[in-house]
Amino acid sequence: MNLNFRLSVLTQIADRWPRIGKTAMMKCVFFLQTIKGIPLDYDFEIYTYGPYSSLVMSEVDFARQRGYLKVDGVIYPNAYGYEISCTEEGRNLLSNNPQINQYKDSIFEIIDCFKNKQATELELLSTILFVNRRYKEKDKESVCKTVQGIKPKFTLTEIQNGYDFMSQRRYL
C-alpha cells in the first residue's frame, strides 16, 4: 500500500484519538494491521516494550513534516512523552483521500476499544497478540507462558486477564 494511504491512516488515528501518545500510536497501528488486516505493510518486531516498527515512527515524523500531524513533547509526573494531534492540513488530507473511508469503521472500533488503556496495558495486550500470531500459539496457557518470558514484570493473572480481554473480542 502506498505512502499516502499510510499517512492517511496515521492522521485518521490522531483525528479520532486526540493527543495520542507515541506508544499508543504504535500499538494502535499494530492492532489495525494485525486484527483488522488493514494493508499497511509495516514490519513489526518484538522489543522489551512490545511490538514495534521503526517505519511507523519515521512516517509519523514524515506526516509531521508535511504538516498533517503536530507532535509535542510533554513532561508527565513519571515520564517524558509525546502528544500527537491532527492538524487542519491533516483533515484536508483525509477529506481528499476517499480510500480511507472503507477502513474507517475498523479504525474507530479499534480506537474505541483501546483508547482508555494505559501505555503499560497496551504493551501487554499487543505482546499477547504478537505471540499469538507470530509464534502461532493458540492456547491460553502457552501464550501466557511466552508473554511472561518476554514481560516478566507482569503477573500471570494480569497476563491471563489480558488474554481474556483479547479473546472475548475475538482478536486472537
Binding site: I46, Y49, Y76, P152
Partner: protein
C-alpha cells in the same frame, strides 16, 4: 586449566582478545570469506584508503560489544538481578553476545550494502527481498551450529546456535526479556555495530568525521527502565554530550563518505555489473541465490565479482568501473526536493530519452541519518525518568528529518 587467549592487532582497539572457540569460528571458511567482502564497496574510488573488510569490522564489533556489556554489567547489578541474571547468567550472556557480534555480518553479499539490491524476493506477492541478516541467520544455523554448540569451550555454557541467531533477528526463535534487551547491543540506536564502523571507516577513509570519544560513550551506558517498566540500555545523565557527538559523527560520515556523490554512483555501476555476472553464472534474473541455497551463495565474494568484471562479464557497467568513467552528476535537489527540483529532474530525464543513459538516485532509506523513532534515551536524574536525546540537544533536534535528496547522473558522451 586457564583458557588460552589469542590477541589480534586492530586499528581501533590496539588488541582484540579471542578465546579458542572464537578463534575456531574465525577459521571457518564462511568467516574467512569476510576477508574478501569490502566494508564500503567501491568507496576507494573516492577515498583510496577505504579498502578494509567485513572481517576486521566483525572482530571490532565483538570487542566493542564486549566493552559495552562489561560496563553495563558493572553498573547495573541490581537491575540484572531483577532480570534473574546471576553471575553465571552474566558470563553466559557475555559469551552469546560475543559470538553474535562476531557473526552478525557473516551473511553480507559481495561489496556489502552495494550488493543488497540483488537479494532475491522472499515471495513475489509482497515484493520484499531477503536481507543480509536473513543470510547471516541461515549461515549460522548451517555452518556454525556445530562449532557453537559442540566446542569444548561451550561445555560450561551450553549455548545453542538459536540463542545467537535470536540476537540477529531470527524470527523463528521465541523471544524472552534478556534476549530482547541484549539484542539492542547488536542492533539499536546505540549499538556496537555503528559504534565500531564510524571509527573504523573514518580511520581507513582518512577522515575525522566519524571520530567520537569511544571510552566516554562506553562508560556512560547503563540499564534503566522505561515508564512501562521495560529494561533498556540508555545513557547516564552526564553523558548526553558524547551521545550527541556519536549522532553528529554519523551524520557527518553519511554526508561526507557514505553518501558522497561519486561513491553513490559506483554503488549503481557495481550493482548493474554484478547483475550481469549473476545472470551469466546463475542464469536467473540477476539475483543472488536465496538463503535456502546457502552453499551456492557463499561462493560469491568480491573476488568473484571483480574477476567477472575483469573478464568482461560485467558488460557496460563493468567497463565503467574498470576505466573509472562513471556517470556524472547533472542535478542534485535540496534535502527535501522542491517542485522546481522535480520539474528540472523530469525535464532532464526527458532530454535523455533512453533509460540506459541516466540514473536517478533516490536514497530515501539510506539517508535517515538520525531516526527520531529510535531516539537515544538519556536518564534524567532530576525527574528520575528517561528522556530522548533530542530533548537535551538542540543540534540533534534540528537534525531530525527524513531527507529525500535526489540526484540525477548522466552517462558520459
Amino acid at each position: 586449566m586457564n583458557e588460552q587467549i589469542f590477541e589480534i592487532r586492530d586499528v581501533v582497539y590496539g588488541f582484540i582478545e579471542l578465546d579458542e572457540q572464537e578463534r575456531d569460528i574465525i577459521n571457518q571458511p564462511a568467516f574467512q570469506r569476510l576477508r574478501r567482502i569490502r566494508q564500503l564497496a567501491l568507496t576507494e574510488m573516492v577515498y583510496p584508503g577505504a579498502t578494509h573488510t567485513r572481517f576486521e569490522h566483525s572482530l571490532g564489533v565483538l570487542q566493542m560489544a564486549t566493552n559495552m556489556y562489561d560496563c553495563i554489567v558493572k553498573k547495573s547489578r541490581d537491575k540484572l538481578r531483577e532480570l534473574s541474571l546471576n553471575d553465571e547468567g552474566v558470563k553466559r550472556w557475555r559469551k552469546i553476545i560475543r559470538i553474535a557480534a562476531l557473526l552478525h555480518d557473516v551473511g553480507h553479499p559481495p561489496f556489502s550494502h552495494a550488493g543488497e539490491d540483488l537479494m532475491p524476493p522472499k515471495n513475489n506477492e509482497s515484493g520484499k527481498c531477503y536481507t543480509h541478516e536473513d543470510y547471516s541467520v541461515e549461515i549460522i544455523k548451517k555452518q556454525f551450529k556445530d562449532i557453537i554448540e559442540n566446542h569444548p569451550n561451550n561445555r560450561n555454557y551450553g549455548i545453542k546456535a538459536g540463542e545467537v541467531t535470536a540476537l540477529l533477528g531470527d524470527k523463528s526463535i521465541k523471544a524472552d526479556s534478556c534476549m530482547l534487551l541484549w539484542k539492542s547491543l547488536i542492533s539499536g540506536q546505540l549499538d556496537a555495530d555503528r559504534a565500531d564502523y564510524l571509527l573504523r571507516d573514518s580511520i581507513h577513509s582518512g577522515v575525522s568525521y566519524g571520530i567520537y570519544d569511544r571510552n566516554r560513550l562506553i562508560h556512560c551506558l547503563a540499564l534503566y527502565t522505561t515508564e512501562t517498566d521495560s529494561p533498556v540500555i540508555a545513557i547516564q545523565d552526564g553523558g548526553w554530550h558524547v551521545a550527541e557527538s556519536l549522532v553528529i559523527a554519523r551524520y557527518q560520515m553519511f554526508s561526507q563518505v557514505y553518501f558522497h556523490k561519486t561513491r553513490r554512483i559506483y554503488d549503481y555501476h557495481l550493482c548493474q555489473a554484478t547483475k550481469e555476472i549473476l545472470k551469466k553464472q546463475i542464469g536467473n534474473a540477476g539475483n543472488y541465490p536465496p538463503p535456502q541455497n546457502i552453499d551456492k551463495y557463499l561462493e560469491f565474494d568480491d573476488w568473484t565479482i571483480l574477476y567477472g568484471i575483469k573478464s568482461g562479464n560485467g558488460r557496460l557497467h563493468g567497463e565503467i568501473i574498470k576505466n573509472r568513467t562513471h556517470y556524472r552528476l547533472k542535478h542534485e535537489t535540496e534535502m527535501i526536493p522542491t517542485p522546481e527540483d522535480e520539474k528540472r529532474i523530469n525535464s532532464l530525464i526527458k532530454e535523455q530519452g533512453s533509460e540506459d543513459t541516466y540514473f536517478l538516485d533516490t536514497p530515501y532509506a539510506s539517508t535517515k541519518w538520525y531516526k527520531l523513532d529510535k531516539d537515544i534515551e538519556v536518564f534524567d536524574e532530576i525527574h528520575g525518568f528517561l528522556k530522548p536525546l533530542s530533548e537535551y540537544s538542540p543540534i540533534i533536534k534540528s537534525m531530525v528529518a527524513v531527507p529525500q535528496i535526489k540526484r540525477l547522473y548522466i552517462k558520459q558522451a
